[in-house]
């Protein structure tokens, strides 16, 4: 059951090793296939590279603060995710996200599905770390990580990363408070 009470944060997140990304877009395709054709992986071109943008599971998620419909929540597992039937597709979360990973145009496909035949009619896609897979198997990883053929995407425990020799660049929050962020 999901409540609005403060939930624990998840320690694991998806990180990308930019020296390994071959731009195959397997992550986006896997996300597309696994999330009812609403991919939560977008791309940004940075010079020569086309890099996937994946939710950082912020410590103080701006998308949760900004959502007027209380669709964005941190659930019991600590995952910041979108509640399907509350989302009205207003795009507030996309505007608030300081990292630009929530978008209404994802990987060239419309992130906001507004056709009457699709679900509630108005949806913004949001990474939930493939909660269905994580719940089914403790060793499972999100689809984007499992699909990555080059090993560029990893699902790492932040506390363990340093011990493993990983230097993670980029934090999980632009600031602590919504107004400070702005």
């Amino acid at each position: 059951m999901i409540t609005q009470a403060r939930q624990p944060e998840i320690d694991k997140r998806v990180v990308i090793d930019v020296d390994r990304c071959v731009e195959c877009q397997s992550c986006a395709a896997a996300c597309f296939a696994g999330h009812a054709r609403m991919p939560a992986v977008s791309f940004a071109r940075a010079g020569w590279a086309l890099l996937p943008l994946i939710c950082r599971q912020c410590k103080a998620p701006a998308c949760v603060d900004a959502c007027p419909a209380e669709a964005m929540v941190r659930d019991e597992a600590g995952i910041v995710r979108r509640r399907l039937f509350r989302c009205v597709g207003c795009g507030s979360c996309a505007q608030a996200c300081p990292f630009g990973v929530i978008s209404d145009s994802l990987a060239g496909t419309p992130g906001t599905i507004k056709s009457p035949g699709e679900l509630s009619g108005h949806q913004i896609s949001k990474c939930d770390l493939c909660a269905d897979r994580l719940a089914a198997d403790a060793k499972a990883v999100p689809r984007c990580v499992a699909a990555c053929p080059s090993g560029a995407l990893r699902f790492v425990d932040e506390h363990q990363a340093e011990a493993d020799g990983l230097l993670i660049i980029g934090g999980r929050s632009a600031a602590d408070h919504l107004y400070k962020r702005r």
Binding site: D19, R20, V22, E23, C24, Q25, S26, A28, A29, A30, F32, A33, G34, R37, P39, R45, G47, W48, A49, A107, G108, T109, R133, A136, D137, K139, A140, V141, R143, A146, A147, C148, P149, S150, G151
Partner: protein, 555 residues
């Protein structure tokens, strides 16, 4: 079923490239299937593999035989269709163009039917450049490397966009680089593909000059190789320094991807690459479209099949395509064909009077050569839908309708040993390059081959329209376009509208469209090499114009 099983693979695997990635097929609540990477322990699954699940039960799947009458398609029974095909063929010979990426048992069964029917000729269809490449590597005697072997290599020469052809092969390269940051990664790719950005040394070569670059590199590495006059625009110095870097390796890997429309030297490229790898103690890894291209090449002498060039020359014969989109792959326009067996609509089914439903490769169990030359027997991911024939049975049903008696049991596949191919003659120079801007086709991880299968998947449909055209920054400035603008790429009567993607790894004068775009394939000049009888598609000159009208921007 496998007629001979050296190793049985219990897991579902994608057979759209030699990597043979593991996948899971799950049912969707609303019907249909989806493929997913394994929960634990998988080694990735690219967009092609992810498309398979959806394709198994896609709404657009061909499930019934149809006949075109008065411009419309009418359903008919399979037996009636077979009889009508035989009647429509009349006195003409029939040429069956069979997809070469199918399991070996399918090729042998189709061959048995064609042997039993004197009027029928079998042609096993592979991507022309890949067939030539494999004939070259077979003749070279080089060892084949699997993706897992690559991590144990200490130097890499990558020809073509191998990382797009098989993204899984990049893992071994990066694993090695993680262990040794100084490992040489040499890239020869006039198309500036995804491997180019990881190169420690990039050998600049104009389109169609890959052979001259490899020859220069091999000579610098101390390998006996006849000289090939370098064409204008080739950086001889970088080729020589790359050769010296490779010469210091104890076990180099040469990863090859033969892309369509890049010229006719692929047999020589495969041979020289194999010789180079063999001389330095390394091996080659050929990244083909479909997992079974090497098996089809090795089976070739056992089949009474005619070459693709011979089959194309039989213009008066009745053409029947089975499992392959011949017209889309070769960009052939205006040719009517009698019948097409296919899983999805494609250029060949559009041009065919009769269409028969045919299973796709993943629905057929059988012998494959995966990951280098590992001979494995794969089970079908799922059986074909009811009423859908196996490709060999499409040929069999037509043969039966012609009164041909069923052949006896097909011979066992047995060991698929190396082909005793002759060494190709090395030319003294490269063919004259087309004037810039030159159109090349580049591999994409999203699509396999000419896209006859994967283009029907929803993700590929969503991101592939409009297609992208890669341009060098200098060319974009000259034309007056920027990233994401629309342009029209034109040659003669043919044109493609595409969205610009400025590629900083691309040399000026090169224009790269996706290899899976059938309209783009039609823009590459096609001919048959008189020396080798190989079908050759070459880079061609195109015009590019900005197309920033409202209709293009909203396409």
């Amino acid at each position: 079923m496998c007629s001979d099983t050296p190793k049985q693979e219990p897991r579902s695997r994608c057979t759209l490239c030699p990597a043979g990635c593991e996948l899971r097929i799950g049912g969707l609540g609303a019907g249909g299937y989806q493929s997913e990477p394994p929960m634990v322990g998988g080694a990735g699954l690219c967009p092609r593999g992810l498309a398979i699940g959806e394709l198994l039960d896609a709404p657009g799947r061909i499930r019934w035989a149809t006949r075109r009458l008065d411009g419309r398609r009418h359903e008919i029974g399979l037996a009636d269709a077979a009889r009508a095909i035989v009647a429509a063929a009349g006195d003409r010979d029939l040429v069956f163009f069979l997809d070469g990426a199918l399991p070996c048992e399918q090729l042998l069964a189709a061959d048995a039917w064609c042997r039993a029917w004197p009027r029928a000729k079998l042609c096993v269809v592979l991507e022309p450049a890949e067939r030539e490449l494999l004939l070259g590597t077979e003749a070279s005697g080089a060892a084949y490397l699997s993706d897992a072997d690559l991590a144990g290599c200490d130097g890499f020469l990558i020809v073509g966009d191998a990382f797009a052809a098989n993204p899984a092969c990049s893992r071994g390269v990066f694993d090695r680089r993680a262990a040794d940051a100084r490992v040489a990664i040499i890239v020869i790719d006039p198309g500036g593909g995804s491997a180019a950005k990881f190169a420690t040394c990039r050998v600049a070569a104009p389109p169609g000059a890959e052979l001259a670059a490899i020859a220069e590199l091999a000579r610098a590495a101390g390998v006996d190789c006849p000289p090939i006059a370098p064409p204008d625009g080739m950086d001889v110095r970088s080729a020589r320094s790359a050769g010296l870097a490779l010469a210091g390796c104890k076990r180099p890997a040469i990863i090859l991807a033969a892309e369509y429309g890049r010229g006719g030297d692929w047999r020589q490229i495969g041979y020289l690459a194999g010789r180079l790898a063999g001389a330095l103690g390394g091996g080659v890894a050929c990244q083909t479209t479909g997992a079974n291209a090497l098996a089809a090449v090795r089976l070739g002498p056992r089949l009474a099949a005619i070459s693709l060039a011979d089959a194309l020359a039989r213009q008066d014969a009745a053409w029947v395509t089975v499992g392959c989109d011949l017209l889309g792959m070769l960009g052939i326009r205006g040719r009517e064909i009698l019948a097409a067996g296919a899983a999805f609509a494609n250029r060949s089914t559009e041009a065919a009077e009769f269409v028969m439903p045919a299973a796709i490769a993943m629905e057929l169990g059988g012998m494959h050569l995966l990951g280098g030359q590992r001979q494995v027997c794969l089970e079908a991911v799922l059986p074909p839908p009811a009423g859908v024939l196996e490709p060999a049975d499409v040929i069999g049903s037509i043969a039966r309708a012609a009164g041909v008696e069923a052949p006896g049991p097909t011979t066992a596949v047995g060991a698929l040993s190396r082909l005793a191919a002759a060494a190709p003659s090395i030319p003294a120079g490269c063919a004259a390059a087309a004037a810039p801007p030159v159109l090349m086709l580049g591999r994409q991880a999203a699509d396999a081959g000419c896209g006859e299968l994967t283009a029907h998947a929803s993700w590929q449909s969503a991101v592939g329209s409009p297609p992208s055209v890669r341009l060098a920054a200098a060319d974009a400035r000259r034309i007056g376009v920027k990233d994401l603008d629309m342009v029209e790429v034109r040659t003669g009567e043919l044109s493609v509208r595409a969205r610009v993607r400025i590629d900083h790894a691309l040399d000026a004068g090169a224009v790269v469209l996706p290899e899976a775009l059938r309209e783009a394939r039609a823009m590459c000049p096609l001919h048959v090499s008189p020396a080798t009888e190989a079908v050759v598609a070459s880079p061609g000159t195109v015009n590019i114009e900005a197309a920033n009208d409202y209709a293009s921007q909203t396409a």
